[in-house]
């Protein structure tokens, strides 16, 4: 069983490494088209609506890691389990790691960027309409508006925490192109980082009614020597009457004063 698992992992790595970023764009839709039993909207698109969550340790560390006081052990979500830093960027990543407690903007409860918001350990809700897919996140009430009406990214330079998202359907895969980031968010708590030149392409493909194959291509020539990919499964929250609650962590230190102290 264990050996078989390793074999599958190796196969997946080999497959992913043989793919160029361009031809990788067909992978998701190929997989999705194999699944006939997926919910569809009235316009025939796969219906991603619902509440989802990634159950993994990617927010702790994108790469495979042992258990530590920082959290549980976990499988890596990066193809090849390696992030192709440029040499000078690798040095910065090591500094980030050393100062992770103070440098990670998650500690200040800032908007965590894309794709990190997807694998924060909180549920999120997709509201899919024909012209715009809105994603509502329990974490700090973050919202993304993924326009699927053919509109282009606004002209930059723009530096947003969550970037600007424009989506399109390639077969049964929702492909979201995200640009206009700032350089202040990380990918995880170990200091994996990017610059404002970050370009993210997310691919959401329903595997069946309750699972999304989520694949992300990361491109940032200032920090990485080549594009690289992460991939994970997003799971539908199936509990009856499940709904998003809230986690506005930046407010915790002020709550005691409101509406009035002691009230």
């Amino acid at each position: 069983m264990r050996l078989r698992g390793v074999g599958v992992l190796h196969l997946a790595v080999a497959l992913s490494m043989s793919q160029l970023p361009a031809d990788a764009q067909t992978t998701g839709s190929t997989q999705a088209s194999q699944s006939a039993n997926i919910p569809r909207t009235r316009d025939g698109k796969p219906d991603l609506s619902g509440i989802w969550q990634g159950f993994n340790t990617a927010n702790d560390n994108l790469l495979s890691h042992s258990a530590s006081k920082d959290g549980p052990a976990g499988f890596g979500v990066v193809d090849g389990d390696e992030i192709p830093y440029r040499p000078e960027a690798l040095a910065r990543r090591q500094e980030n790691f050393a100062d992770r407690a103070t440098r990670d903007t998650e500690a200040r409860c800032y908007l965590p960027g894309v794709p990190r918001i997807t694998y924060m350990p909180f549920p999120f809700q997709i509201v899919q309409m024909p012209d715009v897919t809105t994603v509502l996140y329990e974490y700090v009430h973050a919202i993304r508006h993924i326009y699927t009406n053919g509109s282009p990214h606004p002209r930059g330079p723009i530096e947003w925490w969550m970037g600007d998202s424009r989506g399109r359907w390639e077969g049964d895969t929702l492909v979201v192109d995200v640009v206009h980031f700032n350089a202040d968010t990380w990918f995880d708590r170990t200091g994996n980082f990017h610059s404002e030149a970050l370009h993210v392409v997310e691919r959401y493909s329903l595997m069946d009614a309750d699972h999304i194959d989520y694949e992300v291509t990361i491109e940032d020539p200032k920090v990485f020597t080549r594009p690289w990919k992460m991939r994970m499964v997003l799971y539908r929250r199936k509990e009856p009457n499940f709904q998003l609650l809230d986690y506005d962590c930046y407010a915790f230190e002020w709550e005691k004063y409101y509406p009035y102290p002691g009230l």
């Binding site: 903007t105 509502l136 009430h141 709904q243 809230d246 930046y250 004063y257 409101y258």
Partner: protein, 288 residues
């Protein structure tokens, strides 16, 4: 000292005005709203289709009684000319919030010091970038209504908050779960959406001058769609711990062009709450 503080308030106020102006102007080129049919068409699940962008006709959260924005208050203080603004409160008929005496005293005390805060709690929640909550989100910024099958979704760019209101009659979440935007359950009666809202954490005040309710509050909201471009928002607030009787506010809303919503990050850039007064100590000092 006083002048210095006023200047600070001015700067912050101006920054807010600039922010809202630039934000609202940023999206795709403004277009006239396409004429919407009235009576409304129905969504596939049978809801009156009221989707699109809406905004209060008179926005502002400086005070409810009278209805006044921060900018209007600012103008009054500069010019000395007090404009007769009606109260947002339509019941009781006198337009005043029916506070119990102790609660009225708390609010009056806050209203007297908000300009020159000396304690952390004197600073309005909105200045701290905290979620303004329900009903406050309905009397200043633009919001978008989405109607996926089985629910009504409200989305704001300001404070990046949202509400998902299920229409299936499910029960509220457990009473010990308190939420910034409360827990809403909706139903349509004709062209009126009625939302029963509980589980409010009540951390957001109702306005800058300290109006408030407690986490025992129960709000019944009515979104009364009058024609294709007009909606009246009414919120009836019951809270026996704070008020002598239920009371109702009304905010007229109009349809806006469907502009894109762009990122609004307040907390991430927040530097000024602690600078609104040099007299504030406690933990509310320069932190960033």
């Amino acid at each position: 000292m006083r002048l210095q503080q006023t200047m600070r308030a001015l700067t912050i106020g101006a920054a807010f005005v600039w922010m809202s102006a630039s934000l609202s102007g940023q999206g795709a080129a403004p277009q006239r709203p396409a004429p919407k049919p009235w009576p409304p068409t129905l969504t596939p699940d049978g809801q009156p289709d009221v989707q699109g962008s809406w905004r209060p006709v008179i926005g502002g959260t400086h005070s409810l009684d009278p209805a006044k924005s921060g900018a209007a208050d600012f103008e009054e203080r500069i010019t000395g000319v007090v404009k007769p603004n009606p109260s947002r409160i339509v019941d009781p008929p006198d337009g005043h919030i029916p506070y119990q005496p102790w609660a009225a005293a708390l609010q009056k005390e806050l209203a007297a010091v908000y300009e020159n805060p000396t304690k952390p709690e004197h600073i309005d929640t909105q200045t701290r970038c905290l979620v303004p909550g329900v009903p406050r989100m309905y009397y200043f910024p633009t919001f978008r209504i989405l109607q996926p099958p089985g629910s009504v979704v409200f989305v704001w760019d300001e404070y990046h908050v949202f509400r998902v209101i299920p229409l299936d009659g499910r029960p509220h979440v457990a009473a010990n779960v308190k939420l910034w935007m409360g827990d809403g359950r909706g139903r349509w009666e004709g062209n009126t959406l009625i939302v029963d809202t509980t589980n409010l954490n009540a951390k957001s005040r109702l306005d800058v001058v300290g109006d408030f309710f407690s986490d025992k509050a129960h709000i019944v909201e009515r979104f009364i769609f009058v024609d294709a471009n007009t909606m009246n928002y009414e919120a009836t607030i019951t809270d026996p711990d704070v008020f002598t009787r239920p009371w109702t506010m009304r905010v007229a809303q109009r349809r806006m062009p469907d502009a894109e919503m762009w990122e609004w990050a307040c907390h991430e850039g927040e530097r000024d709450a602690a600078h609104t007064s040099s007299k504030i100590s406690d933990s509310d000092t320069e932190k960033k």
